[in-house]
C-alpha cells in the first residue's frame, strides 16, 4: 500500500476521523455501522475490537465458523507486518480474508496434497452459539448466488456501492444491480415476500 493519499483516501480518513469521534452532522459524511476505524488504533486493539466482525463477514460469505476464523486470522497475520502502511484496515482485511477463504475452499474442492492440520490453532474458547435470527440470515445468505452474497456481505458491513465497486474492481452499476437482486432474493428467502428468485 502506498503512502500517498488520493482524494478518496483523504475523504475516507476524514470519515474515519469524524465517525470515530462519535458520528456527525457534517455535510457529505455518513457514519455507517462497522465502518469507522480509529486511525490511531494500534494493531492489537484493532484485532481485539474487529476480529469478531471480520469472522462474521467471512461467515456471511458462506464459510463455517472454523473456516471463517482461519481466514480472519490469516488476514490479520498478513496485516501485522505492514500495519502502519494500511490506510483502510476494514476494507483491506475483508479483501484479504475473502481471498484466503476462497483459496482455502478451492484447495478443498480440488486437493493437490493432503495437509495434516489447521493453519492456525482454534481461536474459540467456548462454543459459538448463534441466535435464531443470526443462523437464519446466514442460511439465507448461503442460498444466494456467490456474487450477490459477496456484495451483500460488504453492504451489511456498511460499505457503499461506490466503495464496494472499488474494492471488488466492479462497475457501480453492477454492484447496485446485484445488491437489488440480493435484497429481493433475501426478502423471499426470509419470508418478507413471495417474489420469484432472480
Amino acid at each position: 500500500m502506498g503512502a500517498t493519499l488520493t482524494n478518496a483516501g483523504r475523504h475516507e480518513a476524514e470519515v474515519a476521523r469524524v465517525c470515530s469521534a462519535g458520528g456527525s452532522a457534517t455535510p457529505g459524511i455518513t457514519c455507517l455501522p462497522g465502518k469507522a476505524v480509529d486511525p490511531g488504533l494500534d494493531f492489537a486493539a484493532c484485532y481485539r475490537q474487529h476480529l469478531p466482525g471480520l469472522v462474521w463477514f467471512v461467515m456471511s460469505l458462506g464459510a463455517s465458523a472454523d473456516e471463517a476464523q482461519d481466514a480472519a486470522q490469516s488476514a490479520f497475520a498478513a496485516a501485522f507486518p505492514v500495519w502502519d502502511t494500511i490506510r483502510h484496515p476494514q476494507a483491506w482485511l475483508r479483501r484479504v480474508a475473502e481471498r484466503v477463504h476462497c483459496r482455502s475452499r478451492s484447495s478443498r474442492e480440488f486437493p493437490v496434497e493432503i495437509t495434516s492440520d489447521r493453519p492456525w490453532p482454534p481461536l474459540v474458547s467456548s462454543s459459538v452459539e448463534l441466535r435464531d435470527e443470526a443462523a437464519e440470515v446466514l442460511a439465507a445468505l448461503a442460498a444466494l448466488p456467490a456474487r450477490q452474497r459477496q456484495i451483500m456481505a460488504w453492504h451489511v458491513d456498511g460499505f457503499s456501492p461506490a466503495e464496494i465497486a472499488r474494492e471488488l474492481n466492479m462497475e457501480q452499476a453492477a454492484v447496485r444491480q446485484n445488491l437489488a437482486k440480493a435484497r429481493k432474493n433475501l426478502k423471499r428467502l426470509l419470508g418478507f415476500t413471495s417474489e420469484r428468485p432472480l
Binding site: 501485522f80 476462497c102 435470527e133 456467490a146 456498511g158 471488488l168 474492481n169 433475501l186 426478502k187
Partner: protein, 77 residues
C-alpha cells in the same frame, strides 16, 4: 444502509426496513456470540509468533502481499 426499492411503495418500504433490521440484528448478535467465544489473546500471540525473529516462528498459511490481486474464485458468477 442503502436500500434499493421502488419509491412510493409502502409495502416495499416495510419489507426493506424489515430486511435491513433483520440483517443488522443478525450481524450484531452474531458478532456478540463470536466476541464471547473467541480467544483473542491466543490469536494475537499466534500472530506475533509467526513474525521473523519470534521464537518458534513459522510463515502464516496464506500470506497475500496485497488485497488487490486478481478477482477471487468465489465471485465468478
Amino acid at each position: 444502509m442503502t436500500t434499493c426499492h421502488q419509491a412510493g411503495s409502502p409495502a416495499a418500504d416495510d419489507d426493506d426496513l424489515g430486511l435491513d433490521l433483520l440483517l443488522l440484528t443478525a450481524q450484531a448478535s452474531g458478532e456478540m456470540a463470536l466476541r464471547d467465544a473467541l480467544d483473542t489473546e491466543s490469536g494475537l500471540a499466534a500472530i506475533r509468533a509467526t513474525q521473523p525473529g519470534a521464537s518458534g516462528s513459522r510463515a502464516p498459511p496464506d500470506q497475500p502481499a496485497s488485497p488487490h490481486d486478481p478477482e477471487s474464485p468465489c465471485s465468478s458468477d
